[in-house]
């Protein structure tokens, strides 16, 4: 348990919640935002059909089970929401959910359709677009036609809107303003999890005149949640205030206790962030892993939820550097032998993050569907084997080594991780350069295949946490490894193997859970055989984040990497 809180009779209203730290949203646009910190903010202003409730006990299955958000109810066969073949979902929308437009306007089924179309935009699309295109009938065709009709990433809002308004996704229809029908290509037991992703937010017609996630978008983003963005300076500051048109009667999961939320984004290490919180100059950390004392057994993740890969090394398979060496699996396999995972574990240990960490060997870490332990690149004590790396590189035709650029964030443990990896590679005869980036630019940079294709980086060490828990076989492999070279991709290294693509579709078509589990494992083995990544550490993300003394009811949410649900906490001023 975390530190004790004074007994409360009920929530207090008011105050400004202050977050402080080195983090940044990757994108403000829900269509492309794909980072836990961003999702923490998006939850406040963008609503989906379904979402997750904030549940205090992480062992409670309800914490990871979607509940209706703008939808009236969870569709089932017995309420006529789900057909017997599990291919058609009829979802009815709550009345009274309003956009903060002038005048305020009801959120409609058409707004959700617009949101789904915007995910496919070529300017800044959804990182996990394959969740949707491989599930919803006609969405893959819509995305392909979109990419063909508007092939350039600098398209104007008019070009984007022209395509979107003239084309339909066959498998999504509005029967009226409050009824939405989805037709699937195959039954998907995780469909409600997919619909609960922030990508699947409604989008008002005003977005037709804005570049997705562009500066104007960030200034004019609309809200249908309890707060709205009133000030945003990317990577520096954001402020949200109450949305006066939000009505608690229409929202079963969020509240509006605090007056405002402010996030100050500064280059600060965890010690500095912790100091600010203890000094009551901030209430919560923004990105820094600052923990507070807790009594729980640190070896108990507190639940049966899936581990995260944090970090893993992704290779830029599109890099033209070294004669395109990283496109070759035998080169990547050689490099996989070089990494000293224990050295990186030591770096994280020093952060006293209060979480279970182990060296990782597979793309799917424990607790997630498809996980079966195996290790294709064992090294003694997980300390790396530079000699084996050197030998295999020579075999692959690189006896004189390579020159590689490591892209890394310049905050928290990331520079140390980059240096550790560099040491490992240098021991194997590889020359290493660094490309440090601020937190606010890092993921957006990785998500743009143009940077990968230009060879501005060769390897990097991001992290990946599952988008949902339970029945989540696809939540690692599909976004990370299925071919996706669109801007916004989360297949950062542009890895592409048609056989893996095919196996993923095959696994998705498997309705039998055990067979699907085996199928996901087989894909894991294949991507590891290809050494698309090097898993470094598997993390049970149970960090008990430090809270300021006036913070009450701060509930960590598994689906936003255990960061707190800001829509349910309140501030208790000292008497």
């Amino acid at each position: 348990m975390s530190s004790s809180e004074p007994r409360q009779d009920g929530p207090s209203r008011g105050g400004t919640l202050r977050l402080y730290g080195p983090g940044s949203m990757d994108h403000v646009d829900p269509a492309s935002a794909y980072y836990a910190l961003g999702h923490q903010i998006i939850r406040l202003f963008a609503r989906q059909l379904f979402t997750y409730p904030a549940v205090k006990d992480l062992k409670d299955w309800r914490a990871i089970t979607p509940v209706p958000d703008v939808a009236v109810e969870v569709p089932t066969t017995y309420n006529t929401g789900l057909t017997v073949n599990h291919l058609t979902y009829t979802i009815r929308l709550r009345p009274g959910v309003l956009w903060d437009t002038t005048p305020p306007r009801e959120v409609t089924a058409h707004d959700f359709i617009r949101g789904f179309k915007r995910m496919c935009n070529p300017v800044c699309g959804a990182g996990a677009i394959r969740y949707f295109t491989s599930t919803i009938r006609g969405m893959a065709e819509f995305a392909a036609a979109y990419a063909e009709a508007v092939p350039h990433p600098d398209a104007t809002p008019a070009e984007l809107a022209a395509f979107q308004n003239a084309h339909e996704i066959e498998g999504i229809r509005a029967l009226d303003d409050r009824t939405l029908v989805f037709e699937l290509v195959k039954p998907a037991s995780d469909f409600l999890n997919i619909l609960s992703m922030p990508f699947a937010s409604a989008a008002p017609v005003e977005y037709d005149s804005l570049v997705p996630d562009g500066p104007d978008f960030r200034r004019q983003v609309r809200s249908n949640g309890p707060y709205r963005l009133v000030d945003y300076d990317h990577g520096k500051f954001l402020r949200m205030e109450r949305n006066p048109f939000w009505d608690k009667a229409t929202d079963g999961v969020r509240n509006q206790h605090v007056d405002a939320v402010e996030v100050t984004m500064e280059h600060a290490d965890p010690v500095a962030v912790g100091r600010k919180i203890i000094a009551d100059e901030a209430d919560l950390s923004w990105a820094s892993p600052v923990t507070e004392p807790y009594d729980a057994n640190p070896t108990d993740p507190g639940n049966d939820l899936g581990y995260a890969l944090n970090p893993y090394v992704v290779f830029n398979t599109a890099s033209p550097n070294n004669g395109g060496a990283l496109a070759r699996p035998e080169v990547r396999r050689a490099l996989a032998h070089a990494m000293d995972k224990m050295a990186i574990l030591d770096i994280y240990d020093k952060l006293a993050a209060g979480t279970v960490m182990r060296p990782a060997r597979s793309a799917i870490p424990p607790g997630n569907d498809g996980y079966v332990p195996f290790d294709l690149y064992p090294t003694p004590g997980d300390r790396g084997d530079p000699d084996e790396c050197r030998r295999l590189l020579a075999e692959a035709g690189y006896p004189d080594g390579l020159t590689l650029t490591i892209l890394h964030r310049d905050v928290d443990a990331n520079p140390d991780v980059a240096k550790s990896l560099a040491r490992d590679l240098e021991r194997a005869g590889i020359t290493v350069d660094f490309l440090p980036l601020g937190h606010s630019h890092y993921y957006a940079y990785l998500q743009d295949p143009a940077h990968a294709e230009a060879g501005s980086w060769d390897l990097s060490a991001p992290s990946w946490t599952p988008d949902w828990f339970g029945d989540n076989g696809r939540s690692f492999l599909q976004p990370m490894f299925q071919t996706n070279r669109n801007r916004g991709t989360s297949n950062y290294g542009c890895y592409s193997n048609p056989e893996v693509d095919r196996l993923i579709e095959e696994a998705l078509a498997t309705t039998d859970h055990e067979r699907a589990y085996r199928a996901w494992h087989e894909i894991d083995v294949q991507v590891m055989r290809d050494a698309a990544i090097v898993p470094i550490l598997e993390h049970a993300p149970t960090i008990p984040h430090l809270k300021g003394k006036r913070v009450r009811n701060a509930i960590p949410m598994p689906t936003i990497d255990r960061w707190f649900d800001l829509s349910n906490l309140w501030l208790e001023e000292a008497p």
Partner: protein, 427 residues
């Protein structure tokens, strides 16, 4: 007295027969596929027998095996008491059949997407529990489908692992009277067990279950048979009549049974036409039971015998045919999802699309509103149905009219006239 009643009902007009049912004059009941109307005398029987047994000191267990009622009802369907149990509904019967079959993980069940949830959900349970593979084919629909087409579809889907074919006797969505005998012939040629969901069959068609060659069949007591709610039939073939079904009896476990041996096994099951093990008793013995319910169902069956089961069959098929013709006249042949040209597939359930725009066929809101308005504004009770259509990515929604012996042609005419107006209005 008895013979006089029998004689009068056998020749009574349909208007007179309608008087047997407590129908609300303000309502047009065209939904017997969901629930029938229980005749006055059946309700009386239920009440009388219940009162007789309530509070009595008699030993309740022997009569709750319903030996007499089972014998009477079994005879109506060409079978014997040892092959029949009276249960609560067709869903329970299906569940007990699926749970009682000797499934292994390599076995496959062949069924259709046009089956009732009660069959599909229990098959999925077997899949999850035993690893049974479920192969689902989608039946064709529309005016031109033929029995041969349906049999060929099943035949093409049979594999060496197919252990069971499970299908409806009459489908509840498109009202297709399945070629049961031909499908059983096919199954027997491949050594496959047949499980037939006959929820709609009792009281609609004169049926000889033994002659049909089925291994298992369920039936509802409260739909076309018009017995009390909460009555159903479970038929399990318990003797071998080679002329109908030469296959040995399939291994079957009578789950939910008080009388299953506490030690050892049931008697060996027969390989001939002579009973050696009363499967019906094992299935029927399930603690105390509602005697009034069984008595009332037996009474409903007796009433059908007095009217004449063949006569009822002819009546309901004629009403169904009349309805189809009127639907074609008002909405066009292409509106029909139910069979038209192959009379062997006819049943008194007629499914069709009432709206002109093709896309309205997959608009659930419209069909729901249509059916609601028929009931609330016009007192006409039908239902909407949903089902797959081969080659279509959509689930189709249709209006379903279901006629029975107490309906008459005027009701069909009035209903269709109102449906035309309403569909026009809503189009």
């Amino acid at each position: 007295m008895a013979s006089s009643t029998e004689s009068s009902l056998a020749t009574a007009s349909w208007e007179q027969i309608r008087e047997l049912f407590p129908l609300d004059p303000a309502t047009t009941h065209l939904n017997t596929g969901t629930v029938g109307a229980t005749p006055h005398e059946v309700i009386d029987t239920y009440e009388r027998v219940t009162r007789e047994w309530t509070g009595s000191l008699a030993n309740i267990y022997p009569p709750t095996l319903y030996p007499e009622y089972r014998a009477r009802i079994a005879a109506d369907f060409g079978v014997d008491q040892d092959e029949l149990a009276i249960c609560h509904n067709s869903t329970e019967a299906i569940a007990r059949i699926v749970a009682g079959l000797d499934f292994g993980p390599d076995d496959e069940v062949l069924t259709t997407s046009h089956e009732c949830f009660s069959l599909l959900s229990n098959l999925n349970l077997a899949h999850n529990r035993f690893g049974v593979r479920i192969t689902i084919i989608t039946l064709p629909s529309g005016p031109d489908i033929t029995a041969e087409e349906i049999v060929a579809l099943f035949e093409a889907a049979i594999t060496p692992r197919t252990k069971v074919m499970a299908f409806a006797a009459i489908t509840l969505y498109t009202g297709t009277r399945m070629p049961v005998r031909a499908l059983c012939d096919l199954a027997q040629r491949h050594g496959i067990t047949t499980v037939v969901d006959g929820a709609l069959l009792p009281g609609m068609l004169e049926a000889d279950l033994r002659a049909l060659g089925v291994d298992f069949m369920t039936g509802s007591g409260s739909k076309f048979q018009c017995g009390p709610l909460g009555t159903g039939l479970l038929y399990a073939r318990n003797k071998v009549f080679p002329e109908h079904n030469p296959l040995p009896l399939p291994t079957f476990w009578p789950v939910i049974s008080t009388w299953y041996p506490l030690l050892g096994e049931m008697p060996k099951r027969t390989r001939t036409s002579v009973e050696t093990c009363n499967m019906g008793d094992y299935l029927q013995s399930a603690g105390s039971a509602n005697i009034g319910r069984a008595a009332a169902l037996a009474d409903a069956c007796d009433l059908w015998n007095r009217i004449g089961r063949r006569r009822i069959e002819e009546r309901v098929l004629e009403l169904g045919w009349y309805t189809k013709q009127r639907v074609v006249e008002h909405f066009g042949e292409s509106a029909l999802y139910s069979p038209l040209s192959d009379a062997n597939l006819h049943a008194p359930l007629v499914a069709f699309k009432p709206f002109r725009a093709p896309e309205d066929a997959w608009n659930i809101n419209k069909i729901m509103a249509f059916v609601d308005r028929l009931e609330s504004a016009h007192g006409i009770w039908i239902r909407w149905v949903e089902f797959e259509v081969p080659g279509s990515p959509h689930i189709h929604y249709a209006a379903r009219i279901c006629t029975h012996l107490f309906n008459h042609h005027d009701e069909v005419d009035r209903t269709l006239k109102i449906m035309v107006q309403l569909a026009d209005e809503m189009s």
